[in-house]
Symmetry: C2
Subunit: 399 residues, 2 copies
């Protein structure tokens, strides 16, 4: 009675697997600045909380498999405000962006099929690749050039007869890079040439800095039938625990297939759909102050990390992450050591080691991901502690 292959091989969350060490540190009375997980500290907007508290049905019943019409309309209108022509019949509400990823993988690929994803990538793609038994073909990016996409020929060399889709996550988790229209066109041309699907993970759409503009994969009309977008309110409205996302397609055949996967699990959470509707009703004015808050944090973090000798960091253009290359050999060991062997006045820092964001074995061992989900004061303090920790680790552990 052995487990299935996928049951044995699906990865443990690299973000969460250091938690026991964090728990030990906390038990010793050490304060940890958590830079390891993208759980925003920005308060959830009041209209969301008010909608939850105002829930007034007598029976908490199933909703439609595709989600409530009003919410699908609101999401379509949100995209319309970016001049993207969507309507409610292009949107399926999912249990978090997570479920949208699973549905997208299943609709485009069968076991053994390949999906190309630039690495480092959002680590949970690995989990959904295991669930759906597809193979992720990594396209390795590099810290030195700020994780830009490679030339078209390098991308095309990854395409095989088994390739079904390319995933573009922009703004990117974990790098914070935002693909330029030109970078995206490289991919779009290949999607068109080889008749592939393009899965756009755009959950950080609102988090673009320095006046930049987000270009959605939905804006490429020439491949509109090939595009599936993964969306979520988790980061957009600081409500990760709501579990409301969306799978979006303008291809009716794809939409109907996504819907059949949705029907199998009945419906997304009823109450939080009402809450999400309240969030979208706030209008687009909500985002600017939040964006500026994250931008200030990014600047603090970038300035602080840039000043540390040997650290390779590019200023991210979006999301609330940075991938950072460190002058050490084993960032997983370093991340644990920071929790078990280091403190400054009973304080330390937790980061996410790089290897979990790669699928190529051995990659990312000198990288970490930092999420800037702390207020400015805490972030400044966290950078000081991080710097002291890195120096001590280098001079004592990896000396």
């Amino acid at each position: 009675m052995e487990l299935s292959h996928r049951g044995r091989t699906i990865q443990a969350s690299p973000i969460r697997k250091l938690k026991p060490y964090a728990d030990q540190a906390l038990a010793k009375g050490i304060h940890i600045y958590f830079l390891n997980i993208g759980d925003p500290d920005i308060p959830t907007p009041q209209p969301i909380l008010d909608a939850v508290r105002g829930y007034d049905e007598k029976i908490l019943a199933y909703g439609p498999a595709q989600g409530f019409l009003e919410l699908r309309q609101a999401i379509a209108q949100y995209f319309n405000s970016y001049k993207i022509p969507l309507n409610s019949e292009n949107v399926i509400i999912t249990c978090g962006g997570s479920e949208a990823i699973l549905f997208a993988f299943c609709v485009v690929a069968d076991p053994g099929d390949e999906i190309i994803i630039p690495e480092p990538f959002y680590t949970n793609y690995n989990g959904y690749a295991s669930t759906s038994c597809i193979n992720i073909v990594p396209l390795t990016l590099h810290a030195e050039d700020g994780y830009r996409l490679p030339p078209k020929g390098v991308i095309e060399a990854k395409i095989t007869p088994k390739t079904r889709a390319i995933v573009l996550c922009s703004p990117n988790n974990p790098t914070g890079s935002v693909y330029t229209p030109e970078e995206m066109e490289r991919v779009v041309a290949l999607v068109r040439k080889h008749d592939l699907f393009l899965i756009g993970d755009e959950v950080y759409k609102e988090f673009i800095y320095d006046g930049g503009r987000h270009k959605s994969v939905l804006e490429f009309e020439e491949i509109k039938d090939n595009v599936i977008v993964v969306d979520s309110i988790s980061k957009r409205f600081s409500c990760c625990g709501a579990r409301i996302g969306a799978a979006i397609s303008r291809n009716e055949t794809v939409y109907q297939a996504l819907l059949r996967f949705a029907q199998a699990r009945l419906c997304p959470p009823t109450i939080e759909q009402k809450a999400a509707l309240a969030a979208y009703k706030m209008g687009m004015g909500y985002f600017e102050p939040v964006r500026l808050e994250y931008q200030r944090r990014r600047d603090i973090l970038y300035e602080g990390l840039s000043a540390i000798p040997g650290v390779v960091v590019h200023k991210p253009q979006g999301a609330f992450y940075m991938s950072v290359k460190l002058p050490i050999h084993d960032t997983e060991r370093f991340a644990v050591w920071m929790l078990t062997d280091f403190e400054v006045n009973k304080e330390t820092v937790m980061v996410a080691p790089g290897p979990g964001f790669y699928s190529t074995p051995g990659k990312g061992k000198d990288e970490i991901r930092i999420a800037y989900v702390l207020n400015e004061k805490d972030l400044k303090r966290a950078v000081e502690i991080f710097k002291a920790g890195l120096e001590k680790y280098k001079s004592t552990v990896e000396k």
Copy 2:
């Protein structure tokens, strides 16, 4: 750019696919008694609604991947009250029982592997079989003997080298049967002999009538490492829209694998976990009046249907469904006809056609599933209309 095989072949919900016909009937001003879907009309318990309305966090954040400790403890205690030795570390909270089914399938089976399920069965097993690319091997039961399990030899004949698990849903959706300890022992012996997994779908655990007692697959100590239980609060506490279920295993290796699938999707909904905790805190006294209410409904429905000539119906022992064999050839056509061509004083009835509950092609064409989720008065009226409809359909359409 063709869809994947699973994307093309995953079934549309047979329960929901008649909805357009229902919408047309509603648009014509016809009142429909919905007997087609198991969405309870019993009000959601006040403590659940109060917990939702009392949600007082400032940030609706991620919870643990396995769910909140307090809720896992409460679920373990609930099983403890049935003398089943569980603790919080045997329980993973899922997004509905649906997600627990997916995790269970993935942990035990790889693409092409087989899972044996008595049919008729809960139709969404088909959806999860498509998602996970496993093959359901049906073990056909029969209306004539009230859908009892066949002799051990008949079950064993279904086992091949590819068999990974047997699913037992008891109390059963769609038949309403509750397996006897002796029936279960037949399966347990085979699970032990062939070292298979046994997946127990026990979401209707509380709905057992006539003083009967539910026997859980968790009670068979000799196969405790082989058992995974799928659980849910949806029916137990009339809150299908909460999307809170659980996957339960006493096998540490299985538990850790389930947890890794859970980590990939981050966490179940935060608010409803608090609500579910409030529900379990009501204690076991909550269930008896609800059980008696459903039992009265079952009796009304059974009495009414038994009196219709040619209808084969056995008195169900649990859940809130009946599978009923009708003296006609095409229940799908009949179900549509009831919505499009039949009414009594502007009223009609909607039922679920049988074929969606079978995986063997051609089976179930003379069966329907009825969910008794209406109050007694409405149920009596619905039976009258159903009887009139069936007679008219027989004498005019299938004459």
